[in-house]
């Protein structure tokens, strides 16, 4: 089901003699030229109260690429993801004790940073689809309305563009004013993605977006991720190694709150440097 990201994709990619369908990220498949670093995480120690969840994480994430975070449950990958839009601020007692996260060189935990503004730039899609108990239209326009957009034509335009962007337009265009809760699980998740891209963030964080979906719905979301990376920087947390292999350019493997290995997805899966990574990706634990 995975479509080639662009027409410029070399043919030999799909013919790669691998059991996993791996796009070779090293090849300049999506964009010509070398990807530039967008997010820079340095020496990050993160605590839930007294319990340390992340240990000295250093990571540079590329712009307009898909980066996957993998690792067994409780390894800190979701925690790190939620640090990137400061969702952890909502949980009492959380703190970054050391290190920094910089987006385009700006420390997002800086004293003069408004987390509200940050979250407008860094959208998030959750594990369980969570459309608001409102109509499809209201779900998508919510982000703009709270920013004060009132113009009906603007909202209509954004709704159509976002739904098309999330490959949902054809399925729901006749029932935009019906409840978003009436959609199927996969449609709901794509609605959540549409809702996120409606506010035009630069970065989209996805926290196991397909874990509650069946394989067909999963395939659609993965297709969508491919399409979206032309425009957005995507970071995806996943438990499915096939998914990481299918849709990411780079993969970071976490274990016990530490970043074990970070490299091109093909390297991680075909030729991991660390024995722990190899054990995990080959299914010996996790």
């Amino acid at each position: 089901m995975v479509t080639a990201p662009t027409s410029a994709a070399p043919m030999e990619n799909t013919a790669a003699p691998s059991t996993l369908t791996i796009k070779v990220p090293g090849a300049p498949a999506a964009d010509p030229g070398v990807a530039s670093t967008l997010i820079e995480i340095s020496d990050l120690d993160f605590y839930y109260g007294a319990k340390q969840a992340l240990f000295d994480v250093n990571l540079r994430l590329d712009e307009k690429r898909v980066t996957a975070f993998i690792g067994p449950s409780g390894c800190g990958k979701s925690t790190l993801l939620r640090c990137l839009n400061r969702m952890n601020d909502l949980i009492d007692g959380t703190a970054i004790r050391r290190g920094a996260i910089k987006v385009r060189g700006i420390d997002i935990y800086g004293a003069d940073v408004d987390p509200i503004e940050l979250r407008k730039r860094v959208g998030m899609v959750f594990q369980k689809s969570n459309p608001f108990p409102k109509s499809i239209y209201e779900n998508i326009t919510y982000g703009l309305r709270i920013q004060g957009v009132r113009s009906k034509t603007r909202l209509d335009e954004v709704v159509e563009r976002s739904l098309r962007g999330a490959a949902l337009w054809d399925e729901v265009k006749d029932r935009l004013h019906e409840s978003g809760l009436g959609l199927s699980g996969g449609q709901q998740q794509r609605l959540c993605i549409a809702r996120t891209i409606a506010v035009e963030p630069e970065i989209i964080l996805m926290d196991e977006p397909c874990s509650a979906l069946d394989p067909i719905a999963t395939a659609k979301v993965e297709e969508l991720i491919h399409a979206l990376k032309k425009q957005f920087t995507i970071i995806i947390v996943t438990h499915s190694m096939q998914q990481a292999a299918r849709c990411s350019d780079k993969t970071a493997f976490f274990y016990m709150g530490k970043l074990i290995e970070y490299a091109d997805t093909s390297t991680i899966f075909m030729n991991p440097a660390n024995p722990q990574t190899e054990a995990y990706v080959s299914g010996r634990f996790g």
Binding site: E117, N130, F132
Partner: protein, 533 residues
């Protein structure tokens, strides 16, 4: 073991236990115990409903009888004229109010002294006196007829009492004494003859009355400001309207027939739409629920207007904003309010709140508040404030539950889209839990409408529909309530009397109101559970 037991132990002991109590096994006993408790609740509810209806149902028959006597004894006839007299009194009151306003204007800042102002008002007083004196002949006339009608009614009641006495004696087997009880039948026609015979006299009197009123308003005194002048014009228009109603009164009197039967539905409408609740009156008892119902409603609305923002606001704060420490502090405090006995709250209302509110109402710079200043320390506002206190824990607890039921993921999604906390609460959390909040408010209303002690102590207990022409100021008037009247009168009333029955019917109305509110609340909650999933 030296001695072997008589029965060798079963190799596979799975036989039934042999414990029996009244022929039931242990398990069945437990079942009966719990089942019995559940059934008991249903049975008691059924019994309460049954007795309410049993005691209340015969009220309507009695009320119809009550209305029949009202007509037979000619009380209704006299009331037509009395109404005319009372309407005039109301107009006179308008006039004295106008005088007061004029006086205030004249003695206002930089104005005249009181004496000088009164001198200047002399023409006005002359006018007012002429106007109010016009009614004197009518008043005397009505007073005479009142005596006649009361006498007839008394005779009728004595007859009724004698009948009852004889029946009781007969029932006790005392035939001789029973025969000694004299029952004088009341010949209504003959008794009413002098009453109805006054019609020609009334006709003349009415014409003369109308003439003197017309003359009186022909030359109104000049008033200093256009605003007061407008009021005078309004007064004249009202008097014109009043004069126009004269022929209708006369027609009522002419067509009046003491034998006209009282339809059954009137026994119901007289209760449901009756504007007077008047008992132990020398004239006529009325059992109209409207003043009590309106009183209950007014007090409850005041209570909810205060309690909803407080309760829901506190629930939102505790659920969405407060730190864990604040939560631990605020939640039990609010819930503790419901532990205060309502009689203690009523006490507080009389001793502190009523006094404080009255003092507040006399503060000069607050005089713009509708209804301020007021003299009655116990009124709908005082009772409403305390009832709000009673409703707050209910509304708070249930609304907080409703907010708690909103999935956390909605909140996260909203924040992830760059919403502020306020936007998240107002646009996502509250709408998602709205039906739960509405049902919390409804249950708060149910709690408030059924509350007795506070309203009995603090609402002022004046049995009259509040005067809604006062606008928002209506809240500072004393009222009586359905719950209050039951607890006040039930202790003193004669068993099986019409008043006793009437109180039961008020109880039935309360019962249905509470039933309706609870039903709505449950229905809304159910709908809400489905919509959130």
């Amino acid at each position: 073991m030296p001695s072997a037991p008589p029965d060798p132990p079963s190799p596979f002991p799975i036989t039934k236990a042999r414990t029996h109590l009244l022929g039931l096994t242990f398990d069945e006993c437990i079942q009966v115990f719990f089942g019995g408790n559940a059934v008991m609740a249903v049975v008691i509810l059924g019994l309460i409903t049954f007795f309410l209806f049993k005691e209340g149902a015969s009220f309507f028959g009695q009320n119809r009888e009550n209305l029949t006597v009202y007509r037979r004894a000619g009380l209704e006839y006299v009331d037509f004229m009395r109404q005319q007299e009372q309407d005039h009194t109301a107009l006179t009151r308008y006039l004295s109010d106008l005088r007061l306003r004029t006086l205030q204007h004249l003695t206002g800042p930089g104005g005249l002294t009181l004496a000088a102002a009164n001198t200047q008002l002399a023409p006005f007083d002359e006018f007012a006196n002429r106007y109010s004196d016009a009614v004197v002949p009518l008043r005397g006339f009505v007073s005479d007829l009142t005596d006649v009608a009361t006498a007839i009614k008394t005779k009728f009641i004595v007859m009724g009492d004698n009948k009852t006495q004889r029946e009781q004696l007969l029932g006790a087997g005392k035939t001789a004494e029973a025969a000694a009880v004299v029952i004088t039948p009341v010949d209504f026609k003959a008794e009413l003859a002098p009453l109805v015979g006054t019609l020609p006299a009334y006709r003349d009197l009415s014409t003369a009355f109308a003439k003197s009123l017309t003359e009186a308003i022909a030359s109104p005194p000049k008033l200093p400001t256009p605003e007061l002048q407008a009021r005078m014009e309004r007064f004249r228009a009202l008097t014109q309207q009043y004069l126009v109603s004269f022929p209708a009164t006369l027609k009522n009197l002419e067509s009046w027939d003491y034998l006209k039967p009282v339809p059954v539905w009137q026994a119901f409408t007289a209760f449901l739409f009756g504007k007077d609740w008047l008992t132990a009156s020398f004239w006529q008892d009325w059992y109209g629920i409207v003043p009590l119902f309106v009183g209950s409603l007014l007090v409850s609305v005041i209570a909810l207007l205060l309690a909803v923002p407080l309760g829901v606001g506190a629930a939102i704060y505790v659920n969405q904003i407060a730190s864990p420490l604040e939560q631990r502090l605020i939640k039990p405090s609010i819930e503790f309010i419901s532990a205060i006995p309502s009689v203690v709250l009523g006490f507080f209302g009389i001793a502190v709140l009523g006094e404080a509110l009255r003092a507040l109402s006399h503060v000069t710079w607050l005089s713009w508040v509708p209804g301020f200043p007021f003299a009655e320390r116990l009124n709908a506002l005082t009772a409403g404030c305390l009832l709000a206190l009673i409703a707050v824990p209910t509304i708070f607890t249930l609304a907080e539950d409703a907010l708690n039921n909103v999935p956390r993921s909605f909140k996260e999604a909203s924040f992830a889209l760059g919403a502020t906390r306020l936007q998240t609460v107002l646009r996502i959390i509250v709408p998602a839990s709205l039906s739960g909040i509405v049902s919390a408010v409804l249950l708060g209303l149910g709690r408030v409408i059924g509350e007795t002690m506070v309203v009995l102590l603090c609402a002022g207990n004046r049995i009259a529909s509040p005067d809604f022409t006062a606008g928002l100021g209506v809240v500072t008037q004393p009222v009586h309530t359905m719950t209050g009247i039951i607890s006040q009168e039930m202790g003193e009333v004669v068993r099986d009397s019409i008043q006793y029955r009437a109180l039961f019917v008020v109880g039935i109305v309360l019962f249905f109101l509470a039933l309706l509110i609870n039903f709505l609340a449950q229905k809304i909650v159910r709908k809400y559970r489905i919509s959130i999933g």
